[in-house]
Amino acid sequence: MPVALAVAVMAAVPGPARAADFEAGKRKAVPCAACHGADGNSTIPGTPSLAGQPNYFTHWQLIKYRDGRRKDPQMTPFAANLSDADMADLALYYEAQRPRPRPAATDPAKVTEGGRLAALHHCTSCHRPDLSGQQQVPRLAGQDFDYLLRLLRGFKAKTASDLDGTMTMAAQPLREEEILDLVHFMASLGSGAP
């Protein structure tokens, strides 16, 4: 529940006083590596990879964890102490990492059906035809199977955090087997990296 909160009073010169810093991002990503991998490619089922995620996407998600719109027992305490500059640095660092597809045992029939559904439900309009994401929209190609499944089920149940309502609306018509088909398809895709 959104509750009015006073946060640290910003000084007379708030906001980023400088452009995002890649080296600082690399340093600040050290505590994240335990779960997300040193280069942003996680090996833990259920934990998303951050490598190759669009800068705006990672930054917006961190903002939402910090202000409580997105909640996770592990991420919430991490994000609580991040400054705006920390977020900008981390987002820049992860965007520059090369994504590797997560191992997944996908069913070819479900993959084919999922590909059809991705076009039918306009997933590709925002996530791009290869599901590599853009701007505030995440990369889905080669993402962790369990994570994708949890999120898509969450959007359908209207319990997952959404930046602007688009995903919650998009997930409403999906039946459980269609969610599975879509996840098989997304997880089957190469990372989309050249």
């Binding site: 959104p2 509750v3 009015a4 909160l5 006073a6 946060v7 009073v9 910003m10 000084a11 007379a12 010169v13 708030p14 906001g15 980023p16 006083a17 400088r18 452009a19 705006y56 930054h59 917006w60 903002i63 939402k64 202000d67 409580g68 719109r69 705006d84 977020m87 900008a88 987002a91 039918l120 439900h121 306009h122 309009s125 925002c126 701007q135 505030q136 959404d162 930046l163 602007d164 309502g165 688009t166 919650t168 609306m169 998009a170 997930a171 409403q172 018509p173």
Partner: protein
């Protein structure tokens, strides 16, 4: 007879399509809805909101072009996604945001400004209005208030619900909120789509008493108005409206309208800009049934802020002129908007409509998006830029 039947069938089908779209079945994302098949490969898409405000060094305030004698300075910065501004009784400037989910309080320290975040994690809290020591905040689904907020900026009081029987639709669900001359709180409930037959509860400007009682619709057929003001002398309501997308590069025009009385219908979704029937939903209806726009403000310009000037700093001819902040286009190859226009209403003549401030668009590149204005006590004018997370101050010296 046959024609009538066909028309009714079309309306019936259209309602069906609209309902299916609302249920979300295979509906494209809202911004893409209504895109014709021949534009399916279009790369046009809404400009994403940056997640962080720009640093002062990244804000080229000298690029803002104004009439002779006017000057722009960077008044405040580091305000993520700064949108609507409203003054507290004791001189605090309250500033809303949309996707950032925050409400800010800005305390003017003379040579600098202190920015405090007084609420966060809210549901697109675009609307803020202030009256009798109380700040009112409009999110998508509810209106809340914080009593005595100006004395408690560092320990804000809990948000108390004023009204929460509002649709939860996100598309065009964010609100402008303002007190009318009748002391009522006015806000918009936008169409939950680019183009559709909206439910009866949507596409309007509504009002309630400040205690949450007496809800009523004030204006109908309003697709998405997130800026309005009342004329200082006639007390009539004037408002800006965003037109639909994907009808063309140069149509339909956005609008600037006047609603001198309750109950007028402004045409959505049947008629756009007063004279273009919607190709799908306009059948069987005529533009003449609806209130015509006072000004066609331009295609896709995205008119947000509306404010009548009542200050003493600007030249005398500026008195009672309306400033229209236009956040700028996305659904057009050649960008348009990204400017503040001004309107001079003239008895017995069409209004004069001209540029006041521009320069946020340089060639095809956007560095800022003026979204709302707010007059200061001394008659200078603040302009909020949600893209840069900044507020500019416009002053005049003869």
């Amino acid at each position: 007879m046959r024609r009538t039947t066909l028309a009714s069938l079309l309306v019936f089908l259209a309602v069906g399509v609209a309902l299916v779209a609302l249920a979300g079945a295979q509906a494209p994302p809202t911004w893409k809805q209504g895109q014709p098949a021949n534009l399916a490969d279009s790369t046009l898409a809404p400009i994403p909101q940056p997640p962080a405000p720009k640093a002062p060094g990244e804000i080229p305030v000298d690029k803002i072009k104004l009439p002779p004698g006017f000057k722009a300075t960077l008044w405040a910065h580091g305000i993520n996604n700064a949108r609507v501004m409203t003054w507290g009784d004791k001189g605090t400037l309250f500033v809303s945001s949309r996707t950032a989910g925050n409400v800010y309080a800005i305390v003017d320290k003379g040579s600098s400004r202190e920015v405090k975040t007084i609420a966060k994690g809210l549901n697109l809290p675009n609307g803020v209005a202030f009256r009798n020591g109380t700040l009112y905040v409009a999110e998508i689904h509810r209106i809340t208030k914080m009593a005595g907020i100006e004395d408690k900026l560092d320990t804000p009081p809990a948000m108390e619900v004023v009204y929460e029987t509002l649709p939860k639709d996100v598309p065009h669900g964010w609100k402008y909120l303002a007190f009318g001359p009748d002391g009522k709180l006015y806000f918009n409930i936008g169409a939950p789509c680019n183009i559709c037959i909206p439910p009866d509860t949507h596409a309007n400007i509504s009002r309630i008493n400040p205690d949450g009682s007496g809800f009523e619709y004030y204006a109908h057929g309003v697709r998405n108005s997130v800026g309005f003001d009342w004329h200082p002398e006639t007390k009539d309501l004037y408002f800006a409206t965003h037109g639909r997308d994907w009808l063309g590069e140069d149509v339909p025009s956005d609008r600037f309208d006047v609603a001198p009385k309750k109950g007028l219908h402004f045409g959505f979704p049947y008629c756009h800009q007063g004279d273009i029937p919607d190709p799908e939903f306009g059948k069987g209806r005529a533009c003449g049934e609806f209130a015509a726009p006072l000004i066609k403000t331009g295609p896709h310009v995205a008119g947000n802020g509306v404010e009548f000037y009542t200050g003493a700093m600007f030249p005398a001819e500026y008195k009672n002129r309306a400033f229209l902040a236009q956040r700028g286009s996305w659904n057009r190859s050649q960008k348009i908007g990204f400017r503040v226009m001004m309107v001079t209403l003239r008895t017995g003549d069409v209004p004069k409509y001209e540029v006041f401030a521009e320069g946020w668009l340089q060639g095809g590149d956007v560095w800022g998006r003026p979204v709302y204005t707010k007059q200061m006590k001394d008659g200078s004018l603040l302009i909020a830029d949600d893209y840069a997370g900044a507020i500019y101050r416009i002053t005049y010296q003869r």
